[in-house]
């Protein structure tokens, strides 16, 4: 037995000695051999057309999509069109869904509960809390996702994303990041957790960490409803009605671009401090364009992405809905828990141009960013004790029109500044709990998970602080 062990050890020792002898070129020689062999076989088996003309479609398209003058405009145009289609197209089905789920089924459920004499707290938690939260999330999330994901998947299947990475690479190189970070960032526009997993395409550990930490600056699907609603209510309403759609789309695109800018700035900062190093080399294959298969795409993007993300949102919305109802209805010393918190935090939040309601909403919405807006509306109403709007205190509700939202928020002390700060804070705050968990799974490090969680909050607070103070200085 011992002799066998010695023999095995001697194999390893001999391998080591041979490696010193062969020198460093060993791997190079090996690869060269394999490719020579491959070329030999290929020459026998494959015949290429004489002229290169056949590739001209791909080449011409590439020349246009990556050209000096058209490359970036086409990219922004595509992004803008996708957002615009999503915002415009989602309006109508959203209204329909909320009519059905909130205005029809919810009262029916309430009547049902009354008929069966359910205790008020039980029907409150279940129907006004859990059910309404779910209904709100479905009616607000489903339409934009069902439009956005297929559009995005079509671009992806066609082969456009690698071209975007190709166009954006100089920026990433300058900030010391990997070129493929553009790809993972693009995935992050769908879902940050998916974007974090996608960073596996980056070989270099340093650059992969940068990509993971900055992925949160891609405005994810769960945050658009917030951006879109606030942009529509406060920014769209500041311009003539016929421009409102385009201007609010532009505002959302602006926030998305700001997110890209922040991801570049943070990458630059990280590659000079915590994750020091130069931009490493990268290689990116530009695959041939493939005609997308429309139906296949619709099917897979609905099943894979839309339903998956929606399901997650619903699962988190139900307990969150219950929690919201509870904090708004359980009172200590005659004041609800929510109000205690809001009053306590308000002076601090004021410094950042936000308010206690927003902070509380972001704490409740850690599991899913999607429920931020409903939570804010509900808490504002509960806090003010407004009567006659929605379904009463501590109930998430869908409002008839955007102007109702404006009325409520304005009576809650909101100004254009609050709205801008909310949009900024929605871009710059901690990732949702799923993403945090994914980051931990991918990095296996608490340190980096904490950095990715708290760095955006620190940035969000810094940015809103300065925006607020400068705004107040100028308007005073």
């Amino acid at each position: 037995m011992n002799e066998m062990m010695n023999k095995r050890e001697s194999i390893i020792a001999e391998a080591n000695r041979l490696r010193w002898e062969l020198g460093e070129n060993f791997h190079d020689t090996l690869m060269q051999n394999i490719y020579e062999h491959a070329t030999e076989i290929e020459k026998k088996a494959v015949k290429y057309p004489d002229a290169k003309e056949v590739f001209s479609f791909d080449r011409t398209l590439d020349k246009i999509l990556t050209s000096k003058f058209l490359g970036f405009p086409i990219m922004f145009l595509m992004l803008g069109v996708v957002f615009w289609l999503t915002i415009q197209g989602a309006n109508y089905p959203s209204g329909l869904l909320s009519n059905l789920l909130v205005d029809t089924i919810h009262p029916a459920l309430k009547t049902f509960a009354l008929n069966f004499d359910l205790p008020w707290w039980l029907s409150g938690v279940l129907i006004d809390g859990a059910y309404l939260a779910m209904a709100w999330v479905v009616s607000v999330m489903l339409p934009p996702m069902a439009i956005f994901f297929p559009l995005y998947t079509l671009l992806e299947d066609f082969g456009y994303l690698p071209r975007v990475a190709f166009n954006l690479d100089p920026l990433y190189k300058k900030v010391g990041a990997h070129g493929r970070q553009a790809l993972t960032m693009a995935m992050g526009f769908g879902c940050n957790a998916a974007g974090v997993i996608a960073t596996r395409v980056i070989d270099s550990p340093r650059e992969r960490l940068i990509a993971i930490i900055t992925n949160n600056f891609s405005l994810c699907n769960g945050r658009w409803p917030t951006q879109i609603l606030i942009a529509t209510v406060f920014i769209g309403s500041a311009v003539p009605a016929y421009l409102a759609g385009i201007v609010s789309a532009a505002a959302v695109v602006f926030i998305a671009l700001l997110g890209i800018a922040f991801s570049l700035i943070v990458s630059w900062f990280l590659s000079r401090t915590l994750l020091k190093g130069e931009a490493s080399a990268f290689s990116l294959e530009l695959p041939p364009y493939r005609p997308p298969r429309i139906f296949q795409t619709l099917y897979t993007s609905l099943i894979d992405r839309t339903i998956f993300v929606l399901w997650r949102a619903v699962v988190f919305a139900i307990p969150a809905g219950m929690l919201i109802w509870l904090v708004a209805n359980v009172s200590i010393d005659g004041i609800s828990i929510a109000n205690h918190f809001i009053q306590y935090v308000n002076p601090i939040a004021f410094v950042f141009g936000l308010n206690g309601v927003i902070f509380l909403a972001y704490i409740i919405a850690i599991p899913a960013n999607e429920i931020v807006i409903p939570t804010i509306l509900m808490l504002t109403v509960a806090n003010l004790g407004i009567q006659g709007v929605g379904a009463g205190s501590g109930v998430m509700f869908e409002l008839e029109s955007a102007s109702d939202v404006a009325t409520i928020l304005q009576s809650g002390g909101w100004t254009l500044l609050t709205a801008i700060n909310l949009m900024l804070f929605s871009l710059l705050h901690n990732p949702c709990s799923t993403t945090i968990f994914t980051i931990y799974k991918e990095t296996k490090s608490w340190k980096w998970t904490l950095v990715s969680t708290f760095l955006p909050i620190a940035m969000g607070l810094t940015v809103t602080f300065f925006v607020t103070q400068i705004w107040r200085l100028l308007t005073n």
Binding site: M4, K7, R8, E9, S10, I11, I12, E14, A15, L18, R19, E21, L22, F26, H27, T29, L30, M31, N33, I34, Y35, E36, H37, A38, T39, I41, E42, K44, A45, V46, K47, Y48, P49, V54, F55, T153, E156, D157, F158, G159, L161, P162, R180, L183, I197, A198, R200, V201, D203, E285, P287, P288, Y289, R290, R293, Y299, T300, I303, D304, K441
Partner: protein
Amino acid sequence: MNKISENCINCPAHNISNLKKLGIDMSSFDYVVALAGNPNTGKSTVFNYLTGLKQHTGNWPGKTVTRAEGAFEYNGKKFKLVDLPGTYSLLSTSVDEEVARDFILFGQPDVTVIVIDATRVERNLNLVLQILEITDRVVICLNLIDEARRNQIEVDHRTLSKELGVPVIPASARQGEGMDELLKYIYEVAVGSYICKPNRLRSRSKELNEAIEKLTEMIKEVFPNLPNTRWVALRLLEGDQNIIDAVRNGELGNINLSKIVEIEKEAAY
């Protein structure tokens, strides 16, 4: 319409009725099939076709980052299909390649299907030649043959098959073309009715050959039943820790199932 269906009675596509897509039901399988290939060659499409699952596909390299598993039944035998991460090579140090490499070596799949892109055969052969060093039980799926036709690239799959010593099936997984043929060969290689005689690498470098030979002999003495000593020698020269450990503790001689479980656990997330 009628004409097509009449023609099809005799065409091989008829056999496809033997395929039963089992999705993720992987209880009690008879054979393990590994699915390897370069990134962006349509591996996921082949996987989806065979298992009936709907793994997301997209047109950029490296999009499949988590390993997927599924199952199908063909000719009454149950196959477990393991979709390995797409890699250009098996000789580098990245995690993806380690997973793919170790699964093919230690996991000893009954068949390894290599999906290659018909429009870029040469680059794909790099991986094929490497895998042929590890295992002989290989079926090659020459995918995207429709794209090659569109670009007027002619690939003679018979010559390719003769040169490599393993079956090569022209296919277009998107259209479902050639999948029946692929299944037939997977089945035949799995049950052992088709014996592959793979073409092994030759090296032009005298120094390298001598080094490999020397090591190969030493390894053969200690592990006489190992089918792929040359590969083990190559990996030792590359300093692969998993192989070094396997040599050191003698596990290489009786590659067992416990190792597979370990690899699977690591690869699961």
